[in-house]
Symmetry: C5
Subunit: 354 residues, 5 copies
Amino acid sequence: MARLFPSLSRKRNLPPGTPVYVGAPRAEPVRITVIDYDPDRAELRAVDTPQDCFAYRDNDSVTWINVDGVHEPQIVQALGRHFGLHPLVQEDILNTTQQPKCEDFGDYVCLFVKMLQWSDDADGITSEHVSLILGRGFVISFQQRSGDVFQAVRDRIRDNAGRIRTMGADYLAYALLDAVVDGYFAALEQRAERIESIEAELVERPTPTTLAHIHRLRREGLMLRRAVRPTREMTAALDRGGSALISPEVAPYLRDLYDHAVQVIDTAETFREMLTGMLDTYLSSQSNRMNEVMKVLTMIATIFIPLTFIAGIYGMNFQHMPELTRPWAYPAVLGVMAVITLAMLVWFRRKRWL
Amino acid sequence: MARLFPSLSRKRNLPPGTPVYVGAPRAEPVRITVIDYDPDRAELRAVDTPQDCFAYRDNDSVTWINVDGVHEPQIVQALGRHFGLHPLVQEDILNTTQQPKCEDFGDYVCLFVKMLQWSDDADGITSEHVSLILGRGFVISFQQRSGDVFQAVRDRIRDNAGRIRTMGADYLAYALLDAVVDGYFAALEQRAERIESIEAELVERPTPTTLAHIHRLRREGLMLRRAVRPTREMTAALDRGGSALISPEVAPYLRDLYDHAVQVIDTAETFREMLTGMLDTYLSSQSNRMNEVMKVLTMIATIFIPLTFIAGIYGMNFQHMPELTRPWAYPAVLGVMAVITLAMLVWFRRKRWL
Amino acid sequence: MARLFPSLSRKRNLPPGTPVYVGAPRAEPVRITVIDYDPDRAELRAVDTPQDCFAYRDNDSVTWINVDGVHEPQIVQALGRHFGLHPLVQEDILNTTQQPKCEDFGDYVCLFVKMLQWSDDADGITSEHVSLILGRGFVISFQQRSGDVFQAVRDRIRDNAGRIRTMGADYLAYALLDAVVDGYFAALEQRAERIESIEAELVERPTPTTLAHIHRLRREGLMLRRAVRPTREMTAALDRGGSALISPEVAPYLRDLYDHAVQVIDTAETFREMLTGMLDTYLSSQSNRMNEVMKVLTMIATIFIPLTFIAGIYGMNFQHMPELTRPWAYPAVLGVMAVITLAMLVWFRRKRWL
Amino acid sequence: MARLFPSLSRKRNLPPGTPVYVGAPRAEPVRITVIDYDPDRAELRAVDTPQDCFAYRDNDSVTWINVDGVHEPQIVQALGRHFGLHPLVQEDILNTTQQPKCEDFGDYVCLFVKMLQWSDDADGITSEHVSLILGRGFVISFQQRSGDVFQAVRDRIRDNAGRIRTMGADYLAYALLDAVVDGYFAALEQRAERIESIEAELVERPTPTTLAHIHRLRREGLMLRRAVRPTREMTAALDRGGSALISPEVAPYLRDLYDHAVQVIDTAETFREMLTGMLDTYLSSQSNRMNEVMKVLTMIATIFIPLTFIAGIYGMNFQHMPELTRPWAYPAVLGVMAVITLAMLVWFRRKRWL
Amino acid sequence: MARLFPSLSRKRNLPPGTPVYVGAPRAEPVRITVIDYDPDRAELRAVDTPQDCFAYRDNDSVTWINVDGVHEPQIVQALGRHFGLHPLVQEDILNTTQQPKCEDFGDYVCLFVKMLQWSDDADGITSEHVSLILGRGFVISFQQRSGDVFQAVRDRIRDNAGRIRTMGADYLAYALLDAVVDGYFAALEQRAERIESIEAELVERPTPTTLAHIHRLRREGLMLRRAVRPTREMTAALDRGGSALISPEVAPYLRDLYDHAVQVIDTAETFREMLTGMLDTYLSSQSNRMNEVMKVLTMIATIFIPLTFIAGIYGMNFQHMPELTRPWAYPAVLGVMAVITLAMLVWFRRKRWL
């Protein structure tokens, strides 16, 4: 299970704006790819050093620089310096615990989001810190590691599908955000399946494992909510912000994105309430079972304890017990016992225990 | 029971605005009907192709185009192109998981709502995605399937009942929304009946089935709330929006609609709290029963265990037990047992267990 | 108990604004009374038809038309037409499920409230839909049935008590609203008495009936809240609304009314939390009793089961049990039993079970 | 315990603004004292009739008229008429159930607060309705009874301590409010002590009395919250209100007062959550004890019931039981019993019941 | 554990603005240090009296006066008088129970925060009242005791690391606040570790001690929340306040600080919900164990009580019990007992108790 608080060992005692990587240690090299396109052509290139991207800043086509890995601060710094990013922005790019937010610096807009993906290895949802820098004619995206939800966007640029090649960098930023939010839907879908299978289990045969699953899903829901909830504010800020970098043509798309974010949050909330309801169901099924167990015990004890007492009476060794010598005494006692048993059963039936 | 998350398998990896149907697969053909009316006449026509409706866009009468079925994207696209709908709107029309919202595009206003109907087949409330496009002189409504709550509106147009024939397309859109909200009242009425019958059951004889019913109603309530809650914002946006498409004459009707939406949400909230209260009642009735069962067990055990012990004492086979030979010993032991029993009963009475 | 959802069988499938009575069927005739007054005189008259009131509209004195019964739509319609009420207002007057609200139509202000009264018959609070129309020089009030909280206002007009005869129709409307809100205090007083008596019961001797009473009061509280809560918004809207019909002299009274409404809601909320607290108290007292019952059972069983086992040992019929022939064996076994009992009691005392 | 709803028997059926005392009946005479001061002198005088205060209205010094007792409406009326108070204000002064509020009438500002004091007699917090009227050069304070939190203010005026003698009536009103809010801190301190002593009890040895104390503190907390919560709005209104009666010099003091009010409310909320947490702790400690009791019962029963059964077997009187005649049979049975007991103990250990 | 309400014994009965120390008594002497720097040099000096700092007020370099200990009011007063602090500000500096807030007095801005640090002695988080006064060219910080989170800031000034030496007093104030908020992250990290270790314990082997730990962490969380929550409002006020003392260059840093504050609060909330979830988990694990215990008891009792009864029957001493003389009777009874036992086991298996 992903740790709720992935890395608190922040770079304390360093000046604000110091570019230090905060996150799980990683060994793999940082990969940088550049996609440059205009309506007529699209070029995809893997580059070796940040410096290889510098030329793209000032050309007229739209450039998307994607950086897989933020564990090498000097790469972020090199790009940051060339593209004019504030030191605090560089710090936030490197800080994988940064919460989602949107900040407009005039020349560029920064978007920090969490990219959620289902991982079969972790048997759960993994979260990745993604930073998007929208500038004049370029978008830079930073991810924690390789593997993302952006493949469809790349394909659309390559295949000239949809409007993407005819639009500017603002539309590209929107398309990337949209892919992230679509990824939320995928993660929710996985959760929905889990929840429904546990719900079925709950109805058929609840076990302590069912409970453990519910608790685990609730815990994961907390993480999910922390990642997803700020997205609404972020998209709203982007839409209303009135940045000069965002053309009016893109506005309806941003509103659509906002709607999706609202829907994601709403669905996550609904799941949360469902899980609470399932917990209640589990606890009351437990209480039902306990009640049933107690009733069985009570019925057995209530019938047999008096009978055993009667048997005990006639097992006493007093010399003067006249009943013991009567030939009809034994059957009579057995008869009395049968009557007592029947009376008990009738009484249980009346109390609706049977 | 309707799935809470009906279809998450969204058209991921497609450009935004791509018209793709999202929802349960349907085989039946899409039906299109056109109602065209002015104060003097009303014409109802079933048409075969979207193209048959195109002529109605520019005439002076009010036109209502109703499309039953959104599982054929090309129909929505054809209408969308002719009536000038933004690709994102077309996408939302086709997406049956779209949450209710109201968007003003200047030339037209889009309204997405959930139409709730009681279904005897599903033994519950079914939800249907309905899109209303209010343009200059026309309303286009898209539904997921045949069967709706709009029959009364059709009848009023046909019979020239009320003011509908004398008003414009804005009033028609209002009338359709009003029918949807009236449908919410009908669904709530069904829920009210259910809740009241379960409440009676709860008072008379609660069983685990009662609990299951409560949990099911709560789960359905979550779905209901997701469908109903955005309606308030939507009608408020419509009323305050100041769209040029909505005449001042219709404003009081919209305010009335807003009041109804508020009342629906309020009632749904009240039901929710009632169900929570019923759950509490059930759990405390369970706890009461458990208490009663435990008391019976404890009383039986507390009376008979000591008595059985006494009988056990005199069942021992020691050779030197002088009491065993006394003639008065047996009645004396029985007497002691009777005294113990009486003392116990008095004690239980004091503790108010009896 | 009043039904929470008194009548959902709304006039569906009818055009909006159609005047249809929505509520419990009533047979008694509708009673109309007119009170016309100026500083010098006051006249009270029962009239037979709505038409008898028409003349009062245009005179200079203040006129209060009170209609007991809204189950005859034609009466509301007749008055509505003459006094210029919008069809939707007429509809709301006839709809006894209408939630409280305040609407300003320029020429008149509509106020819909719930009049709460304690009913000994129902052994609970009954709710009545009351509509007040404040126009220039007149107030029309519609009630569901005879019997109201307005008698004191009538007396004050008749006896020229306080300032009412010297003020206009706006003050009359305020006085009626104030009487309704005073009625809320009376209803709350009844609730307070109930709650305090149940609280005493809870401390002295809680029974399942106590629980049923708590649940009933909570359910009633839901109804109360639905009736009372909108009153605050309503009075605030009236105060801030700046209607030309309301003179500045009346403003402090409206603010006072607002304060009362806030106090009513606040008190209702406090009662609600008290009931929740009482439910908790009940459940923990149940749990305490259960604990006590279990302790008794466990102590009895823990002491006697081992003793009975020892007696059982010496009740066995083995031929070679040397103890059985010793003369000191029987008293020795009795002594051992006494020691075990004492040890158990000491142990219970240590565990604080005694 | 103070009644939560001290007096609902309002002066119903009387015109609004009728001066009627609402509260617990009181017999003691109303005491009026006047403090008149300027930077150079301070005079304290007990007066017999309201008329004795009238002269102070128009002098240049600051006058504080304090009235202990509002159960004689004619006194409030006499003062009200001379100092120009609106009838509704007089009504609110006399109504001890009035919630805290601040109203600006231009010529004077009315402040209604609850004065909380710890009472050893009631073993709890008592609440007193206090009205402050701030006019040009005077403050009138009305209290329910003698004994208040204002002694320190009186001393400061008499001793010329702090800035009070050099400031105007606005500062005096602030000083009185500040004394009331300081009284809240004192009441919270008493609560804090109670809560901490009960918390200690909860850890060491929780009993049903502990629970009763928690419930009582929660109930008292409801009353406290009703009294304290409106104070924040009240002080904020006073600060922002921009009344001409309040000089800019006093503004920082009012902001300080506001901070204190926020802190009081915040602390009360924290206490509330602590009490909820303590209730949870109590309930889970109960559940722990129950678990322990059940384990003891189950272990005793599980060990001895099988043993008793074996003893019962060999207590049967069949003639053909070959074991009974074997000399080694008795020790063998005892051995088997010992083995069973040991096996059970090992099993309990494994299940971690021991 | 730190007391939740550290010191309520406020200086009641004193004029507002009287400088009185409110807090735990301290004996150690107050230490004052001055750091004076400009881009070219930095000077650190420990001074003996407040008067030694006075000269720094009017120089051109940035001065940071740090006061460790606020238990000597005359020191605060001396500084307050020279630097022109309002008496109420001096009072708040001395009041260690003051809640965090930000106040702008034009010439200077006051910031009150809580500095949280992990203390191994207290085995918990300790809170310290810190006041920051930002004036033109100077910052004065007051702390309750020696030992703080500011060492890194001192080092950066000394070593000329980062931008701090090139910026003004506003940046210094920001840097100190940032250090405080970084301290919150450290405290949260400690909490995160605790929570995770308890969570592991909860899964492996929950004991009543686990519960006590959860309750303790929740209680600490209440204190934490009170300290941390106002920080958000405070930083927002600072950012939006538009004080002339804060240069535009510092604005992005303040926004960054605000983000951190939001993240801290968010994390604290998440921990709170996790703890609530853990409490639920504990209680349901308890309920599971209880269920298991009850099942064992019920199975043992249900099997052996009937068997013991049968043994009791044949232990009776009636003279006419024909079965007793039959040679096959004993093995037959044993057989019947075995059959009963098997039937019971099958039944338990069916009920899924085994």
